[in-house]
């Protein structure tokens, strides 16, 4: 599908207008939830490749400690994201 039919399909799905059987009532909810999870979770789950989602939102990832930074009010956090596996963005 091209982008516009894709958007229309998703919008209809979210609005419950696709006529799915009752046991699939929560399909869109899980689709959206899993998409968010894949996008923002640690790269070990297969999404957020190279931590690019974290770079995009400025999230530092799996750094071990922030205690040293707590009192640096309103200062930019200088380190780039790190994943659970130890890779750096």
């Amino acid at each position: 599908m091209t982008p516009r039919p894709q958007d229309e399909a998703l919008t209809a799905l979210e609005a419950g207008k696709v006529g799915l059987p009752p046991q699939l009532r929560d399909f869109f909810y899980f689709l959206l939830q899993n998409t968010k999870e894949g996008y923002f979770a640690d790269p070990k789950y297969g999404g957020n490749h190279g931590m690019q989602a974290w770079v995009h939102i400025g999230f530092p990832g799996a750094h071990g400690s922030y205690a040293e930074w707590v009192n640096n009010y309103n200062a930019d956090y200088p380190l780039s994201p790190v994943s659970i596996s130890g890779e750096r963005a």
Partner: protein
């Protein structure tokens, strides 16, 4: 044919806060203990180790350390008009599961009770008059006092490594702590957690209004800490999760004294 298990001295149901501490202290007395725990066994090093513990999807979203609604859940209804239905996805409350139980994921707020809470009925009668207590309300005084329990609060805080600032040290009021607290016999074993910016703004605003902001007593270690009680009381091992929240997980070398299943 029914299975016959070996006889033990004590059965402790569950290895959460109470069960774990109880089991450890009884084991130290030389008793043999059976501690059935329906959840998973856990160890400090393998189960709470950084960096795996910082997995937000697994622990923060999918609630790995919590009870599984598919295994055990409650029915909930929000009004008398609704039919109570099983809670299928945890949200507003997070019951735990496994060794350490809620202690492995609690927020770590470690308040002591107020003195009056031990004699609440007397306090209400003295302060507001007995007539204010509705017919049938079962409010009562406890049979123990804060003073009797104080040494045990002190011991627990030192084993768990609670971070805070004393506000009432044996009757002496200390400005930077909670001036309203029941008297403590000693300072907290660890200094208070540092303030994030929002907490600092709140503190300044509250102080400017003549209020008494103070750091909340936290079961989160503000510094590296070895419980002093461990050297003299190896039965109690306060394990620190990677986020340094105090929890009680039975120390491995006591395991021969009791087993879980």
């Amino acid at each position: 044919m029914a299975k016959q298990n070996p006889k033990k001295d004590v059965v402790v149901i569950g290895l959460g806060w109470t069960g774990a501490i109880l089991s450890m202290e009884l084991a130290q007395e030389g008793l043999e203990i059976l501690a059935p725990e329906c959840g998973d066994d856990r160890n400090t090093v393998s189960d709470f180790q950084y960096p795996d513990i910082i997995d937000e999807l697994k622990y923060g979203i999918r609630y790995k350390l919590m009870q599984k609604p598919s295994k055990f859940t409650l029915t909930v209804r929000r009004s008398m008009d609704e039919i109570a239905r099983p809670y299928r996805h945890l949200g507003s409350f997070l019951p735990s599961d496994g060794v350490g139980s809620a202690g492995v994921h609690w927020n770590g707020q470690n308040w002591r009770p107020q003195k009056v809470e031990y004699r609440l009925r007397s306090y209400v009668e003295e302060t507001f008059g007995a007539d204010v207590i509705p017919e049938g309300m079962t409010i009562q005084d406890w049979s123990i006092t804060y003073e009797e329990q104080e040494p045990y609060f002190d011991q627990f805080e030192k084993v768990a490594g609670i971070s805070g600032k004393v506000g009432n040290l044996n009757g002496e009021i200390i400005e930077s702590g909670n001036p309203f607290e029941a008297p403590r016999s000693s300072e907290y074993p660890l200094p208070p957690l540092p303030h994030t910016y929002d907490a600092e703004l709140f503190r300044q605003a509250a102080k400017a209004k003549g209020l008494h902001p103070f750091p909340r007593p936290a079961g989160n270690a503000s510094k590296a800490y070895t419980p002093m009680a461990c050297s003299s009381n190896p039965a109690i091992s306060a394990a620190s999760a990677s986020g340094s929240v105090a929890s009680t997980i039975p120390s491995p070398h006591r395991r021969p004294a009791f087993w879980t299943r």
